[in-house]
Amino acid sequence: MKPTQIFAILFAALMATCPFFLNAYWTDVMNNVGIYAILALSLNVILGHAGLFHMGHAAFYAIGAYLTAILNTQYGVPVLWLILPAGLMAGFFALIVARPIIHLRGDYLLIVTIGIVEIVRIALINNVFDITGGANGIYGISRPMLFGFKIAKPFHFYYLIWSFAALTIFLLIRLEHSRFGRALHYIKEDEVAAGGCGINIARYKLEAFVIGAVWAGMCGTIYASKMTIIAPESFSFDESVILFTIVILGGAGSIPGVILGSFLLVGLPEVFRGFAEYRMLIFGAAMMAMMIFRNRGLLPPRPKRYKLGEIASAGGAK
């Protein structure tokens, strides 16, 4: 077995058992890490794989969370049933807003996505359509029920969140190695050459955007059910910046890197709660230092390797 596989198995085993050693507080911290990990992984499809500078991910996350909250509190739909509709809604929104802007060059896209996340937040604060509850948000979202079992304690949520995270990781690894993933990789490395090879750049970029948004929307459902109360301030621009930073610091395009990034950015500040006042100060300085000394992230994606035999046989088949 390769060292990375051994490490992955050890990590999975540790994650599966760790809530038995942790108290409720730290389990909850781990839950937050999990939610951010899922969100950052979904952003990674857009930012890491497709190379689109997207700093408005909190908008999609917010749409998922609000759809869940509204349907749950107004119509009493069970929370877990709403995972799929929340994802689809966020994806649909992403499709509409991204369609006209997807061709924009890097920095322009960055600033437009910032605009979108701000508009969504302002719309939520202004109680658009009279259903978002204004600045106070929506409270009283019910707990998820799974086969008659009520998920309420951090301990239970831990397994809900991290199994969803595990599913996410599995699917994203599959995606990375699919035809779709390879096309995105090519687009990221050289857009013009990819277009020249017949890859429909706009379509692939849009698909990556929508996939990321669907996943963020589903994560919104989990967040809403965990918190039972959501407010516009949870989906601010700062949140998008944190997600963006997790992906870049961890290593854009690298799944292990993004997971490590979420542990560092969400978990580590909890460890240094004692220095609460200076922790963001240090965090900012660390971001600058990271970019100067290790600018591809902590665990950059490794170049793809193909076995020589496979290539030869694939070539021979033609």
């Binding site: 500078f53 802007i101 060059r105 202004n126 100060l281 900012g284």
Partner: protein
């Protein structure tokens, strides 16, 4: 009609502030192709330094209102310019050759750093400028009472912008800045010290932004450690609106955005004011991605 005129002058005054900040974004973008996310926070630093200087030196009692405001503006500009140059040296210079995204993240880090440094030094609450420093006179123009400060603020931003424009267009150093913005390699071959030009850009931009911060403090009276985010974002919007990398564009975009926002707040809804400016931004980028006056860099958008 009176309301329209009031909102117009108000929009122009705020727009002048946006334009001053936008100049910093657009100049940095022009020479480095970098969105300097920390620029908004340099603007806040200007506001805070201005307050500190104001309170510690007691200028207003000694030399009168006008002279002390002028002196304050100069001091704040110099101090913020030094901070801007330091920022460039520490956070951006080592990244000159690397991927664009890397520098953007470094800029975000710098922004978080500055914001929290201000909070650590001055505390998280609102700070208030002494409100009896400047005379609250209204001037009657065409039968409408306009606060004098509004006019002064607008004129001050126009004077600063005009000075910058002539500096960039007419002087030798300004020519060097324009040359570096067009082609760094060629500029270096022509004997221009590119590093020094970039350093200079990082002095001028923050100096203008810092002076805008001081003006906001004097005009609105209260400052907040994270006000740089919103002003910065709006100013960046203004820079894109006018065409990023283009100095007259930033001025036009700033004034236009200020007026659009003031009109929107008055005639549509004040709660949607911020959403309106971002909506304008998105529409502009979809319809005319290079902004109103166009980016003067031939590049595929």
């Amino acid at each position: 009609m009176e309301q329209f005129f009031q909102q117009l002058t108000n929009g122009l005054a705020v727009g002048g502030i946006y334009a001053l900040i936008a100049l910093g974004y657009t100049m940095v973008y022009g020479v480095l192709k970098l969105i300097n996310f920390a620029h908004g926070d340099l603007f806040s630093i200007g506001a805070y330094l201005g307050l500190t200087l104001l309170l510690s030196m007691g200028l207003f009692d000694k030399i009168g209102a006008l002279a002390s405001v002028l002196l304050l503006v100069v001091m704040v500009m110099v101090l913020v310019a030094i901070i801007g140059a330091l920022l460039e040296r520490v956070a951006y210079k080592p990244l000159r050759q690397s991927h664009r995204l890397t520098a953007v993240v470094s800029a975000l880090g710098a922004s978080i750093f500055f914001q929290n440094a201000i909070m650590a030094i001055y505390g998280p609450g609102l700070l208030v400028y002494p409100h009896d420093l400047l005379p609250r006179i209204a001037v009657n123009i065409f039968g409408v009472d306009i606060p004098l400060m509004r006019i002064v603020m607008f004129l001050a931003s126009v004077v600063l912008m005009a000075a910058l424009y002539f500096f960039i267009q007419k002087t030798k150093i300004g020519t060097a800045i324009r040359a570096v913005a067009i082609d760094q390699g060629a500029a270096r071959l022509m004997g221009i010290n590119v590093d020094r030009v970039i350093m200079l850009v990082f002095c001028i931009g923050p100096a203008l932004g810092g002076s805008a911060g001081l003006m906001v403090g004097l005009y609105y009276g209260q400052i907040n450690f994270n006000m740089g985010w919103m002003y910065g974002l709006k100013a960046f919007t203004a820079a894109i609106l006018g065409g990023i990398g283009n100095i007259p564009g930033a001025m036009l975009g700033g004034l236009l955005l200020g007026v659009i926002e003031a009109m929107g707040a008055a005639y549509i809804s004040i709660a949607w004011k911020d959403a309106l400016s971002f909506g304008v931004l998105i529409l502009i980028l979809i319809a005319r991605p290079t902004g109103l006056l166009g980016e003067r860099v031939a590049e595929k958008v």
